[in-house]
Each structure stands twice: as C-alpha cells, then as structure tokens.
Symmetry: C2
C-alpha cells in the first residue's frame, strides 16, 4: 500500500463472456473464472491478488454479470459483497466504469480508480505493480491516464495508442487511439516505436471520469444520476435492474478516452497477455521438455508441443500428436491443431444453431 | 440350413483379449463384444448371425473366457447356455477346439465342426455362406479343411497357406502353412497367386480332429479324455476348472493343421477382414462425403477422413483434423493420427506399468 502517494480504488471489469475457450469456458463460467494463466489460479483471482499489492481489498470493486455474482463472491471472498456490482445486462465498458466511479465518488470523489480487465495475464508482477503505482499517481491530479503495452509483434487484433511528448519521466501525452490496424500498418507501428497496444487499463479520479462522461456521454451521466438518487434512498439495486439496459452501450475507450483532452499514457512492459486463445494458454502454461502442457491423467506417446486437459478421473492418451490442443471437460471435448484456435467460435456458433444450450 | 448336405456344428473361438481397441476395448469388454464392423452389431453377434444361415442356434458352441460368459449369454441368448464353454484360462486355440470337438463328439462324433474366430468382419455374407457350405461338405468325408483368403495386398501381419493341386472344384490340397513373411516374401506371395491368407477358419469332423489331436498333441488328448470322463459323471466344469491350465498352449494351426496329412483349402473371396486396428475400423465404417465416420454428437469443422466416437451425452468438436482417430468412452480418451493405430498397445503397456487397472 506504500507504493502510491494517492488513495486509490481498484475497479475490475469482469463482464466478459468469451467463447474462445470452449469447452472449458461456458456461459455459466466465462474465461475470467478459468485458470488459463501460468498457474491454477483463475484469471480474476489473479487480477484481484495483483491489485491487492496496491489497494486494500475493501477498496476493490468488481463489475460482473448478475448471473456470476455468486461465483465471484466464492472466488474472491476478500472483496466486499457490496462491491460486487451486478450488471443485469452487458452494455460495454462505459456504463460499467461510470457506475463504479459513481459508487466510489459517493465515498471519496477525488479517489483514483485503477480500472483493469479481469481476464489478462501478467508475467512480471513486480514491474506491473510499479507501473500501476506510477499511473495512479499520474492520475491523482485529475488527468486521465492509461497504460500502453510495448508491442512485441505486429498484432492486428488490438487497438493501438500513439505516444506524444514525454511530459514527465515515463509519462507521455496520448496523441491518439487507433483502431485495430491491418497487417501493413501493424508492421509500421511496430517499426516506428511510438505505438503501444491499448491494454484496456485506465486510471482517473472518480470526479474526473464522471466529468468527462457528463461532457461526452450525457445519456450515461443522466442514468448514473438516477443510480445516485436511488442509492440515497437505498434502492440502487432496483434502479440498476430497471434501467441499466437503457444506458448507451459504448466502450470507455471510444466514449471517453479518445474524446477527452489531456489523456496521458505510460508505456508498460511486464509480460502482458490478454490470453486471447488456446494458443496463448499453451504459451503461458509451464511445459515439459517436449513442449507439452498436460493437466490431469495424460499418457503421451510421441507428443510434442501439445496442450491436453483431462477432467478428474479421466485417462487421456495422445499418440503421435504435434501442436494439438485436446480439452476434455467431461461433458464436452475439443480436439484441434493449435493454429486453429480462432475457429473455436465456429463450434460455439454451430452449437447455438443446433440449439444445444447444455453445451454452451 | 439347406445349403449343406452334412450335419454341422458351429464353434466360435471367442477367447481373444486384444488391446488394439483401447479405450473402447477393455479387459472386461474385448474386441469381439464391440461394434467394430460396418454396423452397430458386436462382432461376436455378427459371427453367430452368419453361422445361423448354415447351422441352427442349438448347434452353435462358443468358447470364451470364464469372465465373459455372462456377457456372451446376454449378447447371443439364442446360443444354449450349456454351449457357452468357459475357459478358466486362455491356452491358445488347440485346447479350445479340442474341448469343443469333445463336447460335440459326445452328441455326434461324425458331425462337422465349422470353427470360426469371433472377431472378424465379412463384407459379402452370401459368398461367405456359400464358401462355408462347401468347406463343411468337403470335411464330411473326414478331411481337415480350411478356408484361405485371396490376398489383396502384400500383408506381413498374417500367416499364409500355399495351395497345391485342385482336387475338386474350388478345393485344393494345402501344400504348406507359412508363418508371417517379411515384406519381400509377402510381395512375392501376392505375385505368385498360389498363396492365401490363413483366416483361422477350420472345418473337420469331430472324430477327425480328435484323431489328429491324439496323434500330434497326445497331452491334449489325455486332458480331453479326463474332460469326457468327468462329463460322464456330471463333473466336467470342475475338471475343466482344475486342469484346463495344464493343457498344452498351442494353436490349432501349429499343433494340428500344419502337421496333419491330407489338409485341403478352399480359396475364399468375401470381403474378409480381421478388424486389426482402428484404421480397419475406419475403413469398414460407413463414412460421409468427407470420409468421416462419426458416432455420437460430433461437431466437425474442416474434418476429413476422421473416426470420432463420442459417448452418450457428450459433445465432441473437432476442428481442422485429417486422418485422426478420436475415441472417447467417458472415462478414457484416445487421440491419434490414424496411421499410429499400431501404437495403441504402447498406451496399454504404459497403463499397465503405471498400475492403472481401472482404465485397462
């Protein structure tokens, strides 16, 4: 807690419902609840643990789908029940962040919010903590701050942030936010060195972000005002249930960060991963000398660079496989070459079309 | 029943305990109990059904491991309980055939035995039946007869029979039995046209084979005489239990057929397969236009020439797989390229070493 000079709250956005980790991820157990990093820890639990190096548990908020509140409380019981904010419906990140900012502002309007996605992996936690502390301090004066990841490949799957002038040690003006580029621009961005990956981590005082929301997303601001009113008479939950779905569905990036003046960015380099697919999960996992990551009872014969996950009590034998992913959850099984990880969505779509909700 | 002029008994040798179909085959459910042919019918059930075109059910005997007697009775209830002969221990095929011959000889010593393995697949059942009828008639005079399969490839995994002179239409002297050849000799055998695959199907009168056993396997003959004595006083089961394990462990091929004079062979050509591996099972299965054989709930994305078997209630997704076998039995799973089918044994060996009897 001594790393920052400022009083901060952690806000974890845990609303995701990805389909890329089927069959391990399901509607009832999305990615952030799964142990997809380098250990047995669920991604959300790891995010909370890392935040606790900077912020006491009682100042951590988690915004999550209503249906996942119980699971969230079980997973991270150190977070106050009142701080697990239940979204009745997903409306992208601006309403999520705005609501959390409103809740914090009632306690302390000048407190800094450290807003983090729930489902990322961090390889170098020490540097991560230091970078977050710097971002929190940079936001304490009222600026909007983000952390951009130094790119290591010409990735076309992320948005980018172009750095401008350095305004303090390690702190730059954010010149602009750039949508996902094509392959040519991504290579150019990587070569130029001024472009960072948009990591979705944001830092601002509660009053600062609410002020920007009032300017750029007035409909959201009105909705949040109704939440505040209802909260004053102990009826916030009912109001959220009734009107959350009417809030504008927009990201905090597009709705606020890209439009606000005076946004700054801190380059970060701490083994960040958004854990985007089974390929990444294999990369993050600890592997044997053959490059295999095995979980459960696995009998390998000539297996190389495979990811195999077996449920309790199951015996899985793989013979002559290379670069293959095998994920068995008991009621469902996925087998594919690792480079087809992006196509897991097709399976989920097929299950939806086939009306097989039991396996979604 | 009108196809043969002779009274015949069917004897099915169902003692196999193959490991090549793990995880579907287990110690408690070997290959002959599995639906590995072109339909849902277990191989043993299909063997009985085919025999019934020639022999009434009450003249069919099945020799099987003691532990599989119940399963056998359930699968083919039309076979008389007294005709399911329980081997307390496997002693190869000569004791098995000798015992069945003794049982038949007590009823009718001149009856012809049609001895068949339980676990083969027959593509052309009409021709098969006709060939068996011819073999039964050829054996009625007291000769030992076998059916040799016309080879379709230079197979090194089977023994061969060299045909000699044709002694009647379609009936040849068997010049000699040849052990599994190397690749060069197998190619030569295929080119020469006089060599047939030893299919393990034998036809002889009960008295004829018992006479040959007395000459070539006197220890077996003595053992069988003890069974006869015990049977006379209603104590055969006890005697078998006590002394079956002391009978010489030798095949009927090596112990009798190769040594006897006057063995003849009928060339057969009826889509025979010994269903030797998952590769063969894929070949026999009915496949979709992509060459896939799917059993159960399978969601394929770009799958080609795959064999996938899912247990009840399970959803199996395969993406981007070609020539891959996926067999899920609920408690065990096998994934391998089809051309590694021979290596399934290695998995079974590994499970034995790891002392995982639950999955064997």
């Amino acid at each position: 807690m001594s790393l920052t000079k400022s009083k901060a709250y952690g806000v974890i956005m845990a609303g995701g419902s990805g389909t890329r980790f089927w069959p391990l991820s399901r509607a009832s157990r999305p990615k952030q609840f799964l142990p997809l990093g380098s250990s047995d820890e669920a991604l959300l639990a790891a995010t909370v643990r890392r935040l606790e190096r900077l912020v006491p548990a009682e100042r951590i908020l988690i915004v999550v789908a209503e249906s996942l509140v119980e699971e969230t409380r079980r997973l991270v019981p150190q977070v106050a029940a009142a701080h697990v904010l239940a979204e009745p419906v997903g409306r992208n990140t601006a309403p999520c962040v705005g609501w959390a900012a409103s809740v914090v502002a009632r306690e302390d309007p000048t407190a800094v919010l450290a807003v983090l996605p729930a489902d990322h992996h961090i390889g170098d936690e020490k540097t991560f903590t230091d970078t977050l502390a710097a971002a929190i301090d940079a936001a304490a004066g009222g600026d909007l701050v983000t952390i951009g990841i130094r790119p290591t490949r010409p990735e076309t799957g992320y948005g980018y942030i172009e750095m401008g002038d350095e305004i303090a040690a390690g702190l730059h003006r954010a010149r602009r936010f750039v949508e996902k580029p094509d392959a040519g621009r991504a290579r150019q961005f990587l070569a130029e060195g001024r472009f960072l990956w948009n990591s979705g981590m944001f830092f601002f005082r509660a009053d600062a972000v609410l002020r920007e929301i009032a300017v750029h997303l007035p409909d959201l601001a009105k909705g949040l005002a109704r939440f505040d009113e209802a909260a004053a008479s102990g009826r916030e939950a009912e109001e959220v249930k009734a009107s959350f779905g009417t809030l504008p569905s927009v990201s905090i990036d597009n709705g606020v960060m890209e439009k606000a003046a005076g946004v700054s960015v801190i380059p970060g380099d701490f083994g960040w991963s958004d854990v985007g697919s089974w390929t990444t999960v294999w990369e993050l996992a600890s592997r044997d000398e053959g490059g295999n990551a095995f979980f459960g009872d696995v009998v390998p014969v000539d297996a190389k660079n495979c990811y195999v996950r077996a449920p309790e009590g199951k015996m899985v034998a793989v013979i002559g496989l290379e670069d293959v992913v095998v994920v068995d959850t008991g009621d469902a099984l996925l087998v594919m070459p690792r480079d087809r990880s992006q196509d897991v969505r097709e399976v989920v779509e097929a299950l939806k079309r086939a009306k097989k909700p039991g396996h979604l």
